[in-house]
């Protein structure tokens, strides 16, 4: 008879797995995570899933209230706007703009920021203090203001908004990475690797990164919720997505004119933005909670 195991193996999960196990046990965080995944799927698969086009309207179905109203129509679940465009489809396409773009923004600024941050953590002297000063200046200006400034210079459009927010979020990642790497450098295991003869790069890649991944991820969720709000705010102010792109903030601004005739064109995009930001923040909270618990244990 074959026996599978006689001795219980001791499994030492990696730091990342440890965090994930704690994360999994927090119900609120998991709900947030589920919503997050839902939004990601929506953002990617909208062209397949959406019932109507977000740009062409149906002239016969103008200003329809959502289906649960008396005058609503089930085939236009969330109503239509003043040009007959289906709100549900517009919001779904909007998820790929507001949410999807925020995702892209975070990944790009994360990569760039972490690279710059870790490289700068290795340097010392004048270069370091210059970078310190520079970062201080940029970090003291709120991200939205900086994004408005950049868009003011290069002109309003969705791609410019994306570029501006990337530029604005990079310093945050640089700061977090620098701080974290510098902190890890003082620890003993790094000293051990150094004594072994490992190059700085090797130390960075194999020893330090696994230990700081979670702090970076926590910063990433903060950055993403900020990015979603910034994209939506710039879209609302008319500095981001231009007509007729269905970005959530732009949809809201458009609905403002119709606020009294068709209030759902204002409520629904606002709710979508709130939903996206809350789920991102829940995931972030879960990560930070896991970080805290692991530190304490």
């Amino acid at each position: 008879m074959a026996r599978e195991k006689i001795y219980l193996e001791e499994v030492f999960p990696s730091p990342f797995m440890q965090h994930w196990l704690i994360f999994r046990k927090t119900p609120v965080a998991m709900i947030g995570f589920a919503c997050f995944i839902f939004l990601t799927i929506l953002a990617v698969f909208t062209p397949v899933l959406a019932p109507y086009s977000p740009i062409d309207g149906n002239i016969n179905m103008l200003l329809l209230p959502p289906a649960w109203h008396d005058d609503g129509n089930v085939s236009f679940l969330l109503g239509t706007d003043e040009l007959g465009r289906d709100m549900l489809s517009r919001l779904m396409y909007g998820s790929s703009l507001t949410f999807g773009l925020s995702f892209v923004i975070v990944i790009v600024s994360l990569v760039i920021g972490v690279v710059i941050g870790s490289l700068s953590a290795l340097t010392t002297g004048i270069k370091s203090s210059f970078l310190n000063h520079f970062l201080d200046v940029i970090l003291s200006i709120p991200s939205l203001l900086l994004a408005i400034i950049i868009v003011a210079i290069i002109g309003p459009s969705v791609s410019n908004t994306v570029g501006a927010i990337i530029l604005v979020l990079i310093p945050q990642f640089v700061h977090v990475t620098r701080y974290a790497v510098k902190e890890e450098f003082r620890k003993d295991y790094v000293l051990a690797s150094k004594l072994d003869g490992a190059s700085s790069f090797r130390i960075l890649y194999y020893s330090i990164f696994p230990n700081i991944v979670d702090r970076i991820m926590s910063q990433a969720t903060l950055a993403q919720s900020a990015a979603i709000l910034d994209i939506a705010t710039l879209g609302f102010l008319g500095l981001g997505a231009q007509i007729p792109l269905p970005e959530w903030g732009a949809i809201l601004a458009n609905g403002l004119d119709l606020f009294y005739i068709a209030p759902w064109t204002v409520y629904l995009p606002g709710l979508s933005i709130l939903f996206a930001v809350v789920s991102t923040n829940l995931v972030g909270e879960g990560i930070r909670h896991a970080l805290k618990l692991r530190k304490e244990s």
Binding site: D56, G57, I59, L62, E82, L83, I243, L256, D257, L258, F259, Y260, I261
Partner: protein
């Protein structure tokens, strides 16, 4: 322990609670302010005025803001049948040949006294001469300041009509015309023919600050100018020495609010007493403390072509596009059904309207055919300039532009929609930067000439009110003939022929005639809107509507409309 906790909680919230109480006290004790607001009216308007002198412009916004408020004219319209009645002139006389018109002025008409001007005399013939010679005489010291353009007067060829104006005595003025003209009196009764103060002009000339005559205005009207903050507000005080009974309201404020939703919000939140061009009429009619006013207005909204630019210099292209636009859909979407499809530029209520002229047909096939004929089978790209704010003739030009964009796509034409802030928009249209545009016209007086001449005559191309830059001599001739005869049937014949030329040439496509709406708080009584011309706050007063719905009038003096 629990009690301690609760006490602690309460202690933390004590400052919180007390501050709430204080702020409520502060806000709810606002009854004393009623006295100031009872005597004032805040009107939410849709745009800033371009200037404070109606002679210089044709925009309805500026007329609304200034003409009936600060100024008076020699004669004006009154009553259901729009008769011409005396105003600053107490009577007038026209000679048989129609070439001499004499006005006899009233005495004791006082000009405004403000922080920048104190009049030493009442109105006399010098003021009339100054006001009109400024327009007629190119060498007049005040002719060229503020641009030297008088679009309405240039459009009706005022300069070639009037030979000179003569002062017979201090209270008598005579106009000598080069030929008789049926619309002369009608034009003098419009909102543009305001009377300025010659004494004020003299004072400014001495200080060498001539341009102030149009930005710090002085007139004889029921209200006088106090303050103007660009893009924000206009403040008028009552003119206590008005030659008729003084106005009921002491302070009139124009709160400039371009956003439709903001205007309605301010009305609903009682921050404005009256608002212009309201949207969401149901929201207003369902509230018992608000009232929706409407008037059948003499206006037309149209889709115009810049006939100076390709391909719109080609008649076939213009016709093709006219066939492709679904006007019924526009009426339903943009006007929510509250307008009539235009048969021509003349609304049905005009006596020159001809039943036989039918609206432009909507036919996509014919449109495509004509486009092919013109050589644009593959279509082309063009722009549509859409009015950014609500007008009486068009509640939402940008939405209309989007619908036309969709219509034209079906025949292969790609459209870019362009819009600017209102005054910038008008300025750029004047420069001819556009290819096509959505605009309209609200009549200044009931004579049909007011539709034909300022919009489409040759002289109007120079004065910027004809933005199609279309010029047709035969059309102009017909208009001249119509002005020179007083035989109504003959005039109607000429105008019908003119309409037929327009239908063939299509420099613009008339779309709809719309009602003009306004919304107000029920405690504001008195007529403000008129079928044509600008709004008038003189007959307005505020009453106290008590809770049991008995209306106690604040001031029961009946004001006679001038």
């Amino acid at each position: 322990m629990v009690i301690l906790m609760m006490k602690l909680k309460l202690m933390k919230f004590k400052p919180f609670i007390s501050s709430i109480i204080i702020s409520f006290l502060l806000i709810s004790c606002s009854d004393n302010k009623l006295s100031l607001s009872e005597r004032s009216i805040i009107y939410c308007s849709e745009a800033s005025p371009e200037t404070f002198n109606p002679q210089l412009i044709t925009s309805g916004t500026t007329i609304d803001a200034t003409s009936n408020q600060i100024y008076n004219r020699l004669i004006t319209y009154q009553g259901e049948d729009n008769k011409i009645v005396p105003a600053l002139a107490k009577s007038w006389h026209v000679t048989r040949d129609g070439k001499m018109v004499t006005f006899y002025l009233r005495k004791n008409i006082a000009f405004h006294q403000t922080s920048y001007f104190t009049p030493t005399r009442t109105l006399n013939a010098d003021d009339i001469l100054f006001s009109f010679n400024r327009i007629l005489d190119k060498s007049h010291p005040f002719h060229s300041i503020s641009g030297g353009n008088y679009p309405f007067f240039q459009g009706i060829k005022f300069n070639s009509l009037v030979e000179y104006i003569e002062k017979i005595n201090d209270y008598t003025v005579r106009f000598k015309l080069r030929h008789s003209d049926n619309s002369f009196l009608a034009n003098l009764a419009t909102d543009f023919s305001v009377i300025l103060s010659a004494e004020y002009a003299g004072q400014l000339a001495n200080k060498n600050t001539h341009h102030e005559i149009d930005i710090l205005p002085i007139g004889t009207g029921p209200f006088k100018f106090k303050e103007y903050r660009v893009g924000s507000l206009i403040r008028y005080y009552r003119h206590d020495n008005y030659w008729q009974n003084k106005a009921n309201i002491e302070q009139l404020v124009f709160d400039i609010t371009p956003s439709n939703t903001s205007r309605l919000t301010k009305l609903l939140a009682k921050e404005c007493d009256v608002i212009s061009y309201p949207v969401a009429h149901e929201k207003i009619t369902e509230r018992s403390d608000l009232k929706l006013d409407s008037v059948t207005s003499l206006n037309v909204s149209y889709f115009g072509f810049n006939t100076n630019k390709e391909p719109f210099n080609n008649k076939l292209v213009r016709k093709a596009i006219s066939f492709a636009i679904n006007k019924q859909a526009l009426i339903e979407t943009v006007y929510h059904g509250e307008a009539e499809i235009a048969h021509s530029i003349l609304p049905e209520s005009s006596w020159a309207h001809n039943e036989k002229i039918l609206p432009q047909e909507f036919n996509l096939k014919k449109a495509k055919q004509l486009l092919d004929e013109a050589g644009y089978t593959d279509g082309f790209t063009t722009d549509i300039w859409a009015v950014p704010i609500q007008r009486a003739y068009n509640p939402n030009a940008v939405t209309m532009a989007k619908l036309i964009q969709a219509d034209l796509k079906k025949i292969g034409i790609t459209v870019n929609i362009i819009s600017y802030e209102w005054n910038t928009f008008l300025h750029r249209l004047t420069q001819g930067e556009h290819q096509t545009f959505l605009l309209g016209w609200s009549a200044d007086h009931p004579d049909p000439d007011n539709f034909f001449t300022p919009m489409l005559s040759c002289s109007a191309t120079n004065t910027s009110s004809n933005r199609t830059f279309w010029c047709n001599d035969k059309y102009d001739q017909l208009l001249q003939r119509a002005l020179q005869t007083s035989n109504i049937n003959l005039r109607k014949k000429y105008y019908t022929q003119a309409l037929e030329i327009l239908r063939n040439e299509l420099p613009l496509l008339p779309i709809a005639h719309s009602k003009r709406f306004q919304a107000r708080n029920k405690n504001v009584v008195g007529p403000i809107l008129a079928a044509f011309g600008g709004i008038n706050f003189y007959p307005v007063s505020k009453v106290n509507i008590s809770y049991d719905n008995t209306i106690k009038s604040n001031n029961t003096k009946k004001m006679s409309v001038q």
